[in-house]
Each structure stands twice: as C-alpha cells, then as structure tokens.
Amino acid sequence: MSNEKFRLTDLRFQYGDGDFALRVPELAVESGQRVAVIGPSGSGKTTLLHVIAGIELAQTGSVEIDGSNWTALAEAERRALRVQRIGLVFQEFELLEYLRVLDNITLPYRIHPSLSLDSTCRDRARALAGTLGVGDKLARFPAHLSHGEKQRVAVCRALITEPDLILADEPTGNLDPANKHRVLDHLIDCANERGSTLVLVTHDHDLLDRFDRIIDVKSFSEGADA
C-alpha cells in the first residue's frame, strides 16, 4: 500500500489570462513528512498550497490525496474533505473581524454541516490557544490583537479539526524569534502526534533544518532532503 499523502502530476495552473502559470510535472509527498516550500515572492508558493487544498483547480493534470483524485471530485465533496482533513494557515491570517478569538478558532465547525461543535471541541480550542500563548485572548476580537497573536490564532484554527494534512502559508512570518520557534514546534508536534503531513511555506532559511524535505517552487527542482 502506498504511503503517499498527495501527488501532483503534470499539473498546470494559471489565473485567468494572467502571465503567471504554475507548472508541476511531478510532486509526491509521503504521509507524515515535514515539507518546506521556498521560493521568491510571486513564484507560486501560495498557489501551490491552494491547488493542493482544492481551493483552486488546475487547468490540466491531477491532484491525488490519499490515492483519490482530488480534481475528479465534486465541489461539495472537495469542500467536505478540505474542512475535515486539511488545516489551512493563510498568509494574511484571514480572521473574521466580528468573531471573538474562540469563535474564530472554532469557525470550521460552524461553516460545514459535517462537523459538529461541542464542548470537547471548545475545550480543545482553549487548550490549543493556551499552548500557543493566546489562551487569555479568547474573548477578544482580532482588531485587539497584535500581528503575532493573530498569526497564532490562525494556526489554532488550522489545527482545531486535527487535520492529517496541514498547509501553512508563512505561519511564522510575523512572529518574533521566540514565538516563531514556539509556533513551529507546535505545528511539528501536532503533525508528529497525529502522523500528519506538514507543508509549510517559508522565507526563513534558519528554519529549514527542521524539515524532512525542501521544495523550491522557482525552479521546481527539489532541494536536498534535510
């Protein structure tokens, strides 16, 4: 039985009629791997994460996750799998301004009928927030948080569903060195605990030795395994 978490084959993605195009001839990632995605700005790192998550659909090629063809699924099925199995950390946090921190963390449970928000889930949200140092901010709105705190709340939201694939777009970008390592430690610990696959976009080369594998999107030639 294959241990591949996901595989991208002959993939080509382009936004509308723009100049940019992401081409991935072949990319396979094993379950439980910790993968860093690097590359200069505008090289397609975020797009790659969106294509893997099924947020964007490639014009050609296929995305397989756990052996099932992601691109062949109906939109509703893709959404259900995404909310249940993929944890997403967005580059700009993308917290909802009108929800308090606790509600932002538990948002996936409120927007999809396949997930049910219960007290266990709330307790998990509180514990996650405590671990990432925002446990005392649960009743606050995002407008009253610092950049670093917003980033950590966004990480909590990605981890609340205990996903087996975590796609994080520069989750340490706005953090001071202490919190940068704290968040990365937690992401890696969570991934290790559940055997989840972690794909993390970063510009911070100091962090690369924490990953099993490094993918440079620019050349789309894989770097040396860590």
């Binding site: 259900a80 909310v83 997403l88 993308e94 909802l96 009108y98 996936p108 409120r110 927007i111 999809h112």
Partner: protein, 392 residues
C-alpha cells in the same frame, strides 16, 4: 442552522451601529404607513362615535366646527357665546330636551364644563364615588382628571384665571368635589363638571360678598339710599361657596341673557329632529348643527391628507429601501475577503448565502418587531395625541 444564525448574529452585534440604523430604517418604513392608518382610523372612529352620540347642537352663528369641537371635546377655542334663552327656546318647542353647556374655564389644564344634571344621564356617565353636584360651588371630576390631580370627594379644585392680569375678570372659585366619575374613555374623563350657575359665578356674573347691612361692613359702605347701598373695594368677596355664605350669592340681571357656549338638543323623535332643524334653518343669530355632518366634513379632509401622507411615505419608504439595499450590496463588496476565507476553509456558497440571508432576516425581524411595537403604542396612545393635535 443554529451555527449560521450565530454567525449572522455575531456580525450584526459587532456592527451594532450599522445594524441599529438598518433596523430603524426598516422599522420606520414599515411603521409610518401602518401607524398612520391605525392612527387615522382609530381617531376617525373615536371622533365619529362622540359625534354620533350627540344628536344636535345649538350655538351662536359662527364656525360649526368650533362649536362641535368645543362642545364635544372641550378642547377647541370657545365659540361665540349664545345665551341661556336658547336653552329655554329649545325646551319651549317641546321637540327636544335641552342640556346647556358653558365650556370656557379651566382648572389647570382640565376643562370646567358648566351644565345641568341631565348631562350625566345623556352621556351615560356613572359615578365611581360620591354624588352629582347639588348646590352652587360643588363639582364632579372626571376619572382621569381625578387620578392625575389625586383628588377625591371632599377635596377641592380651583378655577384658573384666564390671564395673569385679569384681576377683575374670571373669578378664581374654590369648588368642593362631591363626586368622581367612572372611566368613560371619552373627553368627559378629563373634565370637571359644575352646574351652569356655578360657571356664571366664575364668569363674574354672580357673586357672594360680606353682608353690607352687618355692622362689621360699615367701614366699606360709602352711601345708603333706601335699599341701595354703595360700597368700596374693601368689601370681602367670597371665593369659596360654603353653607355659611351660600345665601349671599346672587346674580345680577336676567338669567336668560347669561352666556352659554352651546345647548345640546336631544330630540324626542326623528320627526322632532327634522322639525327642530327646520326651525333653525333661517335663524340669523343662532345655528343648529348636526355634529356627525360636521365631523364627517373634518374627517374627509383628514382622510384626504392621510392619502397624500401615505403616498409621500411610500415614496420616502421606497427611497429608504433602495438605500438600505445599496448599503447591503456595498457591504457585500467590503466583505468579499471574509466570504472568500469562509469558502477557502470549506463553507459552501449556500452556507455563505444562508449567513447573509440570516443577517437580512434578523434585521427585517427586528425592524418588524420595532414597527409592531410602535404601531401598538400608536393604537394605544396615538388617538389621544391626534385628537389633541386636531383640537388644538
């Protein structure tokens, strides 16, 4: 559904000022036409009911509307006075029962209605406490006036002077309350009823004073000529009618010439009514009006105004609704990123749409509840306000 409603509520409560403005707009565009309709219908019903229970009114020539409003609601300007002779004239025809009305004075904001005991039977007024007035200086207070003034039988009310400098005019008479009426849900509730002769005493047409034949009044007497005594201003005038001084009260001149604001004529039959109307048809000094006809004329104007008002409100409402829709659509543009985030995490278009529709539904619901509350308040208190407005 609970989660969707929660998200909608979170959005609305976070943007509470915007929400409040939207709710108020929706409430107003719903309430204004509804409230106006309730208000006018209820007022029309109330005004008509009072007029219908008053068959005919006799008064001096002048504005029929002023005569009706003053006699029925005790609120309008006092019409040109007629005389007590008019009451006798109605009685002498044998066609109707006359009930004199002299509505000119007030005690604070409460109208003092000079009339006869027949008025209570005619209006079907019942006594909650006490009895009808029996002698000069006694009064009966309407239920609302009694409640607001906090008075009961045995207490007193005093008539108010018509002007601060009116020293020689209206008599500030202290009147003894002998009865309080039960609530009638009519203008009678705010009135103070006295005998028409007591009203004439307030008017200064009758008075009581120190006995000039008594030794202690000697210093006030200027001259004596047989029965005729001339006195100066130091003579003690009574401003309260008591058992001890009631005999000193007297009227000067002919009672028939004394003023009334109107005479209610209660005809004995339909034929009597027609005959009485005929008697006054060519009268130069007096008029006989049918209150329902006068009120119908007034209401016709009010209803026309209502139609224009409803049309204006409908136009303003449409503009408000369009603005509200625009605000909502603009807010959707501002929320594109938030909507995209929800969809990226896993929300479907229908879930996002359900959240947005829930927000609109909550705003409409709150607006509707507010509008219903306002309409309810209007139906409860509005007719009194509109009556005051119409009669002021």
């Amino acid at each position: 559904m609970r989660e969707i409603a929660y998200l909608a509520w979170c959005y609305l409560s976070y943007h509470r000022i915007k929400t409040a403005i939207l709710v108020a707009s929706i409430a107003l565009i719903t309430f204004l036409p509804a409230g106006l309709n309730v208000l006018v219908s209820q007022s029309a019903e109330e005004l008509t009911a009072r007029a219908e229970s008053t068959p005919l009114l006799v008064g001096a020539k002048g504005s029929p509307l002023e005569l009706v409003l003053s006699s029925l609601y005790f609120e309008s300007e006092t019409p040109a006075p007629t005389t007590f002779a008019e009451s006798d004239r109605v009685a002498e025809t044998g066609l109707a029962e006359p009930i004199p009305l002299y509505v000119r004075f007030r005690s604070r904001s409460y109208p003092i209605v000079g009339t006869s005991l027949e008025y209570f039977d005619f209006r079907g007024l019942r006594f909650a406490a006490g009895r009808p007035m029996a002698v000069l200086g006694e009064c009966v207070v309407g239920a609302e006036a009694a409640r607001e003034l906090g008075v009961h039988p045995g207490d007193f009310v005093t008539s108010s002077p018509e002007g601060v400098f009116d020293l020689a005019g209206v008599y500030p008479l202290k009147m003894s309350i002998v009865g309080v009426l039960a609530t009638a849900h009519s203008p009678d509730d705010r009135a103070i009823f006295i005998d028409v002769k007591t009203a004439w005493i307030i008017d200064g047409l009758g008075h009581g004073h120190q006995d000039l034949a008594a030794p202690d009044a000697e210093s006030a007497v200027l001259s004596r000529d047989g029965d005729r005594i001339t006195a100066n201003a130091s003579v003690v005038q009574y401003n309260e009618i008591t058992a001890e001084n009631i005999d000193s009260f007297h009227f000067h001149g002919e009672l028939a010439t004394y003023p009334l604001s109107a005479v209610i004529a209660a005809p004995h039959s339909e034929k009597s009514r027609a005959l009485l109307l005929g008697r006054y048809q060519d009268d130069d000094a007096s008029q006989l009006v049918v209150p329902t006809a006068v009120m119908d004329e007034l209401l016709e104007t009010v209803l026309t105004v209502r139609e224009y008002a409803v049309a204006a409100v409908a136009i303003a409402g449409s503009a408000t609704l369009m603005t509200t829709t625009l605000v909502f659509l603009l807010s959707l543009r501002l929320r594109r990123r938030e909507i995209a985030t929800m969809m990226k995490i896993g929300a479907s278009r229908s879930t996002v749409a359900a959240v947005l529709i829930s927000e609109v539904a909550v705003v409409l619901l709150l607006g509707g509840i507010l509008a219903a509350g306002l309409t309810l308040a209007t139906s409860r208190f509005g007719s009194a306000a509109i009556r005051a407005l119409l009669l002021s």
